[in-house]
């Protein structure tokens, strides 16, 4: 019974990871690039939204769109500043490092906007319920449904709509897509905005279950999202969803048995082990089939 309760808590908590990982996956899937400032830009979006809420004193119904708006705007800022100028093949690593550097900028602005270490965050006030002696947190159940719903919608959007075809064309080969008349710059910007909206939803849901926000939220988002995505498989939307739940499950068990520090230790151990043994992720592809040639065409 105890094990089942821990597993339930873990999986429910993992839904937050899934939500964040989906945004990562979207950007990686389309641009083959990693946005390390993703978590920080969500934090910045939330911080600005909180500041606005504080100034104008608005209700939660209007607060949600404000969060989404500022998250997508700060994500767009990262795209314009760190990714758009480095759109060549050599720019893959440069843009990753550039986003790594912007990370500290966004984190610092956010902590100046949130002067207290912890800042309360509006909660959705959904109560916990009990089924057969097991406890389920209502807000986390909502999260897992929304995560599933979003990944399903994204999956359909990417594989069944016209925008999805353009997206996949750009992902497959940006140069070819450009020749076929796709506006790749616009697609990239839209992807970042979409990832921002997605991240905004994720950030709102996660923070409302915690009912507080700290300046560490940016780091937390980036790391957990990254790990969940890499466990599931890089750039795979379903992989990101399941990866998040798996990470939550494992963390819950390890931290229960060995203490709270082991929550984080588990995260990084899993990441390191997955990278060493199966770099493409558990559900992704094996990226180096031919060890000699790596995956480069000569």
């Amino acid at each position: 019974m105890e094990y089942i309760q821990i597993s339930i808590d873990g999986i429910l908590y993992g839904s937050s990871y899934s939500l964040i990982a989906l945004g990562f996956s979207l950007v990686f899937g389309v641009m083959r690039r990693i946005n390390l400032a993703y978590g920080s830009s969500l934090l910045l979006g939330v911080a600005i939204a909180l500041w606005v809420e504080n100034e104008l004193n608005i209700s939660i119904i209007f607060f949600i769109p404000i969060v989404l708006f500022f998250c997508s705007m700060s994500n767009l800022y990262v795209e314009r500043f760190c990714f758009a100028p480095h759109n060549t093949k050599a720019g893959v690593v440069v843009s990753m490092i550039s986003s790594f550097a912007i990370w500290m900028q966004l984190d610092e602005i956010s902590s100046q906007l949130l002067p207290d270490r912890t800042h309360s965050f509006p909660s959705l006030q959904i109560s916990t319920f009990e089924v057969g002696g097991l406890f389920f947190r209502g807000d986390q159940i909502l999260n897992i449904f929304i995560a599933f719903f979003i990944s399903a919608i994204l999956f359909l959007a990417v594989y069944k709509t016209k925008y999805g075809i353009v997206l996949r064309a750009v992902a497959n080969s940006a140069d070819t897509a450009k020749l076929m008349g796709c506006n790749t710059k616009l697609v990239n910007s839209l992807t970042f905005i979409l990832a921002g909206v997605l991240g905004g939803i994720a950030a709102f849901l996660v923070l409302s279950t915690e009912s507080q926000v700290t300046p560490l939220f940016g780091f937390w988002c980036t790391v957990k999202g990254l790990v969940a995505m890499m466990i599931g498989g890089l750039g795979s939307l379903t992989g990101a969803f399941w990866g998040g739940l798996l990470l939550g499950l494992l963390e819950a068990h390890f931290s229960y048995h060995f203490g709270p520090v082991f929550r984080e230790i588990t995260t990084f151990s899993i990441l390191l082990i997955v990278l060493i043994i199966r770099p493409g992720g558990l559900m992704g592809v094996n990226i180096y089939k031919d060890l000699k040639s790596r995956d480069e065409r000569i």
């Binding site: 490092i97 550039s98 990084f268 000569i298």
Partner: protein, 300 residues
């Protein structure tokens, strides 16, 4: 010199070791987000050896170098199949694992100068080597700067050696390197190991200078800074990383009205510099151009 100025110079010198270790890894074509871990390993080793065993600073720093290098060696062999983003994230997770395990390492001894030894989240306190040996801040600065200078001069001399040229080729194009018989594995592992050692040495000095260290000092922001310094400095010449250090600490931190917004300004500055100079300020191409000019002048 005022104490404030000496402290800033010492900090610049110490962080240069991380910047140079990030530079060494960039030469073989990888990006490491985890050099702060080797800095931390070195710091804890030197702290332990000087306080608990009372060893001489030279021996302690030597062990800092060796132990950090060994950890780097293991990491580089384990991640031999990874490159680019995958290696970067692997190094980051290694660094965070190290930092988190510091919270669990507790081994303290009571001495007449207070409690010493790694003490979990409390950190390692009372590293009193500076006081016991009456090393003034000025003298410590001399020690730190001369070690850094020795390292840089060594690197400048090595720059024209076959070892470094081959390493740069491996970093630029492994396919061409293999086609002329260069073994990428050897250079990759070698340089990552060396970089670990360099960071560890700097960490050892840092522990002595700071007199106390704690796990949170070796967080990811230290790594971001070290990497950013060498990236904006450029990969052309070993002096590149120092340019980055100078811009951040020398300009932003020491100017009072800027220092409050240092992280905000520096983060933006790095991204802006990368737009103007994608290969850093002293890029390899710039160095080649300068060399060519010098050759033409001597021929004429």
């Amino acid at each position: 010199m005022s104490l404030y100025f000496v402290t800033i110079l010492t900090n610049m010198t110490l962080i240069s070791f991380i910047a140079i270790s990030a530079y060494l890894i960039l030469i073989v074509g990888e990006v490491s987000f985890g050099q702060q871990a080797f800095f931390g390993i070195g710091a804890y080793i030197t702290a332990t050896l000087t306080t608990l065993l009372g060893l001489d600073i030279v021996i302690a720093l030597f062990f800092s170098f060796m132990v950090s290098a060994s950890f780097a060696l293991v990491l580089s062999v384990l991640t031999i199949r990874l490159s680019g983003f995958y290696f970067a994230v692997a190094s980051l997770s290694f660094a965070e694992l190290f930092r988190l395990s510091l919270y669990k390492i507790e081994y303290t001894v009571e001495t007449n100068s207070g409690t010493v030894g790694p003490n979990g989240p409390e950190g390692f306190q009372n590293i009193r080597w500076i006081f016991e040996n009456n090393v003034s801040p000025d003298n410590f600065l001399v020690i730190a700067v001369s070690s850094l200078l020795a390292l840089i001069i060594l690197l400048i001399f090595m720059e024209n050696s076959k070892l470094f040229k081959n390493a740069r080729l491996v970093g630029k194009d492994q396919i061409v390197a293999q086609s002329i018989g260069i073994r990428p594995f050897f250079y990759r592992v070698g340089f990552i190991t060396l970089a670990g050692g360099v960071a560890g040495f700097g960490g050892g000095l840092f522990a002595l200078f700071n007199t106390y260290i704690e796990p949170s000092m070796f967080g990811i922001m230290l790594g971001v800074h070290g990497l950013a310094y060498s990236i904006i400095g450029g990969l052309g010449y070993p002096l590149g990383p120092l340019i980055g250090v100078f811009i951040d600490i020398g300009l932003l931190e020491s100017v009072r009205f800027l220092s409050e917004y240092r992280m905000i300004l520096f983060g933006g500055l790095v991204a802006a510099i990368l737009i103007i100079f994608p290969e850093g300020i002293i890029s390899p191409r710039l160095i080649s151009r300068i060399k060519r000019k010098l050759v033409k002048k001597t021929n004429a």
